[in-house]
């Protein structure tokens, strides 16, 4: 039973705590936004795992060629069309080329092309989208009309038509894919800029006398980075698939170069006789695209956890 103290209880024995004591509340360290984003990403086991796998594939396809005993393009008449063995883990092709060497080179090319596409496409889309979303008015209308126009033409068809002409090797293929793909992305960037520019801090910056360029570079871009990065990963994934389809049809990478799509095309007729030549490149494509998609998903969550999580 508690002894009721005197009503000069208004002079409390214990001081009133301003704010609340540490034993009553959480104490959370202050963190920068980047740190928060990084932390959130790494909480996604699937995304992190995918990142590891993707980097692994990348590293193997680059370095593997240097360390593997058989080189790409080397013909070996003694070992025609062999099944997988310890000597040739992925068997050999029609002319005795080592399957693994081919695969490594193919993977490297495909990834190279896709990365280049990602960079080009993202740069283009960001540029157009930012200008469109920020300046609005005529600039916006004009650019978006162009984008809409480009979007009325089916991507692969356009790719086929253009790629059949330009034969500048894998770089050319990358440019063509980027050229066809930037339109859709730019719309997304535009959307982000449109919504961001209405925020109060932009108005405040302008009131303080900041010029357009400063506002775009210092305020809008960093805040739209999340969307841009996520879109970049999607662009990467789609680029790989496009390149594969293009090469499969014969319009992409040409001999003597190779890519994963081309490997599949070459092995089409041998699906039942020498299945390894056909299945492995396909599986590698799936691996790459799947991991990139998971990474993109993880990034999306890391940048904006309030969105409904599409957990895989």
């Amino acid at each position: 039973m508690v002894t009721p103290p005197d009503v000069s209880l208004v002079t409390p024995e214990l001081p009133v705590s301003v704010g609340t004591g540490p034993e009553r509340e959480f104490t959370v360290k202050a963190r920068t936004q980047t740190q928060l984003i990084v932390r959130r990403f790494f909480a996604h086991k699937l995304a992190v795992g995918s990142l590891v796998v993707f980097v692994l594939i990348l590293v193997v396809s680059l370095l593997g060629q240097r360390f593997w005993k058989y080189k790409y393009g080397v013909v070996n008449p003694d070992a025609l069309s062999e099944a997988p063995s310890w000597e040739h883990p992925l068997g050999t092709g029609d002319l005795g080329e080592d399957g693994l060497a081919q695969m490594l080179r193919g993977a490297q090319r495909s990834i190279q092309i896709a990365l280049l596409v990602m960079v080009l496409q993202t740069a283009m889309a960001t540029l157009v989208g930012a200008m469109s979303g920020y300046f609005r008015g005529w600039v916006d209308s004009g650019l978006m009309r162009l984008v809409d126009l480009l979007l009325t033409l089916p991507a692969l068809a356009l790719l086929i038509v253009l790629a059949s002409r330009f034969n500048a090797g894998w770089v050319g293929v990358a440019f063509v894919i980027a050229f066809v793909g930037w339109a859709a992305d730019s719309r997304v960037v535009r959307g982000v800029f449109l919504s961001l520019r209405e925020k109060e801090y932009i108005e405040a910056a302008r009131a303080l006398g900041a010029k357009d360029r400063r506002i775009i570079v210092r305020h809008l871009l960093p805040n739209s980075l999340g969307v841009i990065i996520v879109n970049a990963t999607l662009a990467l994934a789609i680029a790989i698939l496009f390149e594969a389809a293009l090469s499969y049809l014969g319009f992409g990478v040409q001999a003597p170069e190779t890519s994963l799509g081309k490997l599949i095309a070459d092995a089409q007729g041998a699906v039942d006789t020498r299945p390894w030549l056909f299945y492995f490149p396909g599986l590698v494509i799936i691996m790459i695209v799947l991991t990139v998609n998971f990474i993109g998903d993880g990034l999306r969550d890391a940048f904006d956890p309030t969105q409904t999580r599409v957990r895989a």
Binding site: L153, V161, I285, L290, V310
Partner: protein
């Protein structure tokens, strides 16, 4: 509403014209139909020049566009490099391709809606993980590779297995072409023949489309499920299922219409490769051949047709969207 439709229709016209110009530009840049001729030493320069004149290549670009456009509007798509008119070829192949597109897209739509809703309602359950994972998986598979796998495993092996199991010569599922040549039989047999040829390509296309749409539908449904009006509907006394369908699904389907419409442009790519894998003599094959031989008129006609399809699809989507979502009817 009528005003809305009419306005959209009117806007489509200049878009179509601009598309035509863009297409023409691209195709002209795409290659020189005379190249194979030039490469051949047996053909004289005169012959090349004559051919050049025939193909109007000696005129400036805008004029060429004008000539072609004028003809196009009249319905004359010109002739291909072999001299045959382009238009009838295009349209005869169109039917086959449209069949494939329609069936696969409808299948994908139904599957995607069911899967998306299921995954959203049972979020984080096993079913949800399965749906989400298959979604991720199928958007990562190259269509042509998957088509080839289907062809091999279902078309050939499974079919042979079923044949030996049921001791019949009859094939259930076909892997080449869209119908059996020289087919004779009544209407029902004919339909089942078509169906048998449709199965595999449809599966290939539908799988990839389903994957993209189910993820989208899931996200859209999740957003709707968390909204206040769902809660109010429940508080009114509506049982769960009614709330889900009448208030949830109805609203969640709206964004999907735009996605489906946009997909027309993307699915064409898938159709091209799928037809190639299964040997269909459809639009896909035509384009690939035309690109290889730099057949300008065919490419032009083809691209214009697809542009019309895309614009039409977008138009339908806009109208449908306005019908479904009263908030945007003002515009």
């Amino acid at each position: 509403m009528i005003v809305f439709i009419v306005r959209r229709l009117l806007i489509s016209v200049p878009v179509l014209i601009a598309s035509a110009m863009l297409v023409f530009l691209m195709v002209s840049a795409a290659g020189d139909p005379l190249a194979p001729l030039r490469a051949n030493p047996n053909i004289s320069q005169d012959a090349i020049d004559a051919r050049r004149h025939d193909l109007n290549l000696d005129k400036p670009l805008p004029q060429r566009f004008g000539i072609w456009a004028a003809n196009f509007v009249k319905g004359d798509f010109g002739n291909d490099l072999a001299g045959r008119p382009v238009k009838p070829q295009l349209f005869s192949r169109l039917g086959m391709t449209v069949r494939l597109v329609l069936v696969s897209q409808i299948l994908a739509l139904v599957l995607a809606v069911v899967a998306g809703v299921f995954a959203a309602v049972r979020q984080y359950s096993i079913g949800d993980y399965i749906v989400t994972f298959t979604g991720f998986l199928f958007i990562s598979i190259p269509v042509f590779w998957f088509a080839a796998v289907l062809k091999e495993w279902v078309g050939i092996r499974l079919n042979n297995g079923l044949d030996s199991l049921f001791h019949t010569d009859r094939r259930f599922v076909f892997t080449i072409g869209d119908k059996t040549p020289d087919f004779s039989g009544n209407a029902w047999d004919r339909i089942s023949d078509y169906a048998g040829h449709l199965v595999l390509p449809t599966l290939a296309l539908a799988a990839v489309t389903y994957a993209a749409w189910s993820r989208f539908q899931r996200a859209s449904m999740l957003e709707v499920l968390n909204s206040d009006y769902m809660r109010l509907a429940q508080a009114k006394g509506l049982p769960r299922r009614r709330v889900l369908v009448r208030h949830g699904l109805r609203t969640a389907l709206i964004p999907l219409t735009t996605v489906v419409a946009i997909n027309v442009g993307l699915i064409i790519g898938g159709v091209v490769v799928t037809e190639s894998v299964f040997g269909w003599h459809g639009m896909g094959e035509m384009l690939v051949q035309a690109a290889t031989t730099r057949d300008v008129n065919v490419m032009l006609g083809w691209l214009m047709l697809s542009a019309v399809a895309v614009i039409l699809a977008n138009l339908v989507a806009d109208i449908l969207y306005a019908y479904l979502d009263p908030r945007i009817r003002r515009t």
